[in-house]
């Protein structure tokens, strides 16, 4: 018995969602297999560090540009070759998409965004529903348990004992129907899009309390002083004050900075879903009972339009004194 993890990777190696997912998978106590589409050699060292036993590799015609159907065909072939009774992927757009295809092809259930395994045989997982404000315990199929692991459900951690994974090439050629949907091209995004926000070590947040589209100068100054990124709540983008790619929350970016400074954000659960992984939260809010304040580690109570400029001034004073 083994479980199979679908690996996502980029130019720098295995994506964080996938190292989190392998770490999560180890808690199942079974051998871990991995599915890699594309170049496998560059990832073998890292897969070994995370304790993967066997790697099933798909490459060649049809596995160039991303095609969800081709990945699903490879995943189904890997399930058959490995005898896996569980398949996991990161709860990313692609992870959820590939697993949905696998579940539809195998006519089994799928659980998106699991945070915990509640029991094995049959597998039951607890997964995020209602934007993370509730968990659903869901029972999966005996024959094949399909679930994605919610982002930041666990911290990625290499295995105690690393392995030397074996590699088995899958003999699979995607059909024309597998390739009906594939990336035709990728267009460059504006340089300062949400990518920076997701990886920023410091994020300054702004909500309805900012008051208007013209009221962001001091917030941007604080962001610059801390070398961070600006993130906003949904109401700010809905009102057209800031662009959508700055939105943090259930339908925006999920961030995990070392420090998050939400200013004038009450902390609706949808926003919390996107920022709860911040290591330290410093809330600035006029309402001491706002959920964002009660959930924060630190808070300053009052009008952000008075407090933020004062903080900026104090930071400038200290940096000038240090020179």
């Amino acid at each position: 018995m083994s479980c199979l993890v679908v690996i996502e990777a980029d130019a720098t190696g295995i994506s964080e969602v996938s190292t989190e997912t392998i770490t999560f998978a180890r808690s199942l106590g079974t051998d871990i297999d991995a599915l890699v589409v594309g170049d496998v050699d560059a990832l073998l060292g890292q897969l070994g560090e995370y304790g993967v036993k066997r790697v099933f590799a798909a490459s060649g015609d049809g596995f160039g540009a991303y095609a969800p159907g081709a990945w699903a065909a490879a995943a189904v072939a890997a399930i058959e070759a490995s005898g896996a009774t569980t398949i996991l992927a990161g709860g990313s757009p692609r992870g959820n998409e590939i697993l949905a295809h696998v579940a539809a092809r195998r006519d089994v259930l799928m659980a998106a965004n699991a945070v915990q395994v509640e029991q094995q045989a049959p597998v039951q997982v607890a997964r995020q529903v209602f934007g993370g404000s509730a968990l659903e315990v869901m029972s999966l199929n005996d024959s094949l348990a399909v679930f994605s692991v919610a982002g930041h459900a666990c911290a990625p951690e290499p295995a105690k004992a690393s392995t030397s994974p074996t590699v088995q090439a899958l003999s699979i050629t995607p059909t024309s129907s597998d390739l009906a949907v594939r990336v035709a091209r990728t267009e460059a995004g504006a340089p300062d899009e949400s990518g920076n926000l997701k990886s920023a070590k410091v994020v300054v947040g702004a909500g309805r309390g900012a008051g208007s589209a013209d009221a962001f100068d001091e917030l941007e100054a604080l962001t610059d002083l801390l070398g961070g990124s600006l993130g906003v709540s949904r109401v700010v983008t809905s009102l057209g004050w800031r662009p959508h790619h700055e939105q943090v929350g259930q339908t925006g970016s999920r961030i995990s900075p070392d420090l998050y400074i939400p200013c004038g954000i009450s902390g609706a659960i949808q926003h919390w879903a996107g920022c709860s992984s911040a290591k330290t939260i410093l809330a600035i809010n006029s309402d001491p009972d706002a959920p964002m304040v009660t959930r924060a580690h630190y808070a300053v109570i009052g009008d952000l339009h008075e407090i933020v400029p004062a903080i900026n001034e104090e930071i400038r004073r200290r940096t000038a004194a240090a020179r």
């Binding site: 757009p93 869901m138 949907v181 009660t294 300053v300 004062a310 940096t319």
Partner: protein
Amino acid sequence: MSNILVCIKRVPDTGGEVSLTDDAMNVDDRQLGATVSGHEECAIELAVQQAGETDGDVTVLTLGDEDSIEQLRDAVARGCANAVLVEAVPSAFGPADIAEAIAEVVRAHEAAGTPYDLILLGNDAADTGDFQVGVRLGYALDRPVVTGMSTVELSDGQVVAKGDAPTGGTQVFEVALPAIVTVMEGGVEPRYPSIPGRMKAKRAKIETIEPQVQPAGSARVRLTLPPKPPSQVTILGEGPDAAVAVADLLQELGVLR
């Protein structure tokens, strides 16, 4: 002329924290309003825009009880021409059941002479967050499906769909019609219903259909609430005088450059 079907779901408007029903099988929505997700609002907007450019019609569909007619009429007020209620208790339907129920309607409408070039859904429902109804619908109807797209454009027998690429930038899909696309919020600004739209919506005929599919259910065992840690907030101060304490904290955290 392109006909577009857009699928939506009435969900409780859980702005704040939620509580559960006594049997822990659902969120207690008695004190909550109802809405559709931001993804679906954008799907409606994209559908209305694309149909408008090709002189086509948008049909809005939901699976739910009769309360869901409120969300159908709202979609009509925003520009959808037709509305279909697949009348069912939504909690009895899992994502595969919902996909099959939608497929039944598509097959019936197409047999009656209304083919759908494009079917739009939200990327995931705001309540159950299943991330799979669109994909399962693709398999039920044997149509290509693209998920998580911000914009769609119909041209020359295909849909050009664009969305965020995982490593930055925008990924572009060009898919032959008929096709299915699930929409992620952010690519368009949903319009507000117009006054004439609201008037039309009040009078709009709602086609009500009973699903044939025997639902297998969602395999929900129970709901739980995530543990709520007690508040451990340290108040650094009130008003601008707190700036010194904040700067001390920033220094302590090592984020002052």
